[in-house]
Subunit: 198 residues, 2 copies
């Protein structure tokens, strides 16, 4: 009985280590740029231990994406001063140079966005769950604004626009850091306005 418990605990620990390693490596190098062997190595586990937990790379990618999105969401909630996240606070953090320059610990959708459509349905399902959760939080947070679209529409656009802004700002950073900064600043201002900031 004790051995079985140890095994179960060890198995859960391996699972967490694999998700953590996959989540970090996928963000740094892309889903297609990382092999399962790299993930096992980063987690300090054998190929066999990996396949005992995840039948495929897609299954691991789906869980890593879900985990990273949940952590981002929890950070968004935790950073809110009174428990209710404000759009401005969220944008300050999401569209910061720090977030742009730290892909391995940042938003997983921005890090792997254009690769997600090429993965299987389980990864798409993870994206849908995490994305819907973020949109609902933003929907609650947006205030009336000059834009006449509904709160839901504005929340959806803030969510996709901040992802696009981060992706483009990162792509520009190596050759044109000034334009990269300009993208972040313009997005911070316009998305704040859409969210009801004055």
């Amino acid at each position: 009985m004790i051995n079985m418990k140890v095994t179960r605990e060890k198995s859960a620990e391996n699972r967490r280590a694999l998700i953590h390693a996959a989540s970090k490596l996928f963000r740094q190098h892309g889903v297609d740029g990382v092999g399962v062997a790299d993930i096992g190595k980063e987690a300090g586990l054998t190929h066999g231990a990996l396949y005992a937990q995840f039948p495929s790379k897609d299954a691991l990618a789906a869980e890593a994406l879900a985990d990273a999105q949940l952590r981002s969401h929890q950070r968004m909630i935790a950073s809110a001063k009174d428990g209710e996240p404000a759009v401005g606070e969220h944008l300050d953090s999401y569209l910061s140079k720090r977030h742009r320059d730290n892909v391995a610990t940042g938003c997983a959708i921005a890090a792997s966005g254009s690769e997600i459509a090429r993965q299987d349905k389980s990864v798409s399902r993870s994206l849908a769950e995490g994305f819907e959760r973020t949109v609902r939080a933003l929907e609650t947070a947006v205030q009336p604004s000059a834009v006449t679209a509904t709160s839901r529409e504005r929340a959806l656009v803030i969510a996709v626009a901040e992802i696009g802004a981060l992706i483009v700002a990162r792509g520009l950073a190596k050759s044109n850091p000034q334009l990269s900064d300009e993208v972040l600043a313009a997005s911070r201002r316009v998305l704040g306005e859409i969210g009801g900031e004055r």
Copy 2:
């Protein structure tokens, strides 16, 4: 002399074939998902012919991205009814289900966006040139709107937001086509408003 001319023409033809093949394959499978051998094969050329034109995969990626962005820009100009692209017309086309469902012939930034930051500086330079050109065209096209940000800021945000919308809509399509459609429709409406549509 005749032979040299033929060789020069053949060389230019090979170059075009390689750029065309790379541009299509990178959009379909991602920059990391395609090897130089695949590109040579798609173009019907040998490895040697490829390296005679492009010293590295990054050099080819930079040129393929530049070419795809120029084509997108030319389509945007050509589709404008009176030669001046209108924001609404551009958004109708960019945020269409057809564009979402045809990655190989669509916007190269949306297709490879999150991978660009992982390529070398020449790819970033291509992105910056093409992106700046699109932003300038949008800047001329935007009309006064309820959003108080400048035309330049609004143009920057329309450009990054439509990219983010397309990336997320593609990622969602396999598991939640309804949410994917909703992202496109909300983005069409809100970005139109930012661009001065009433």
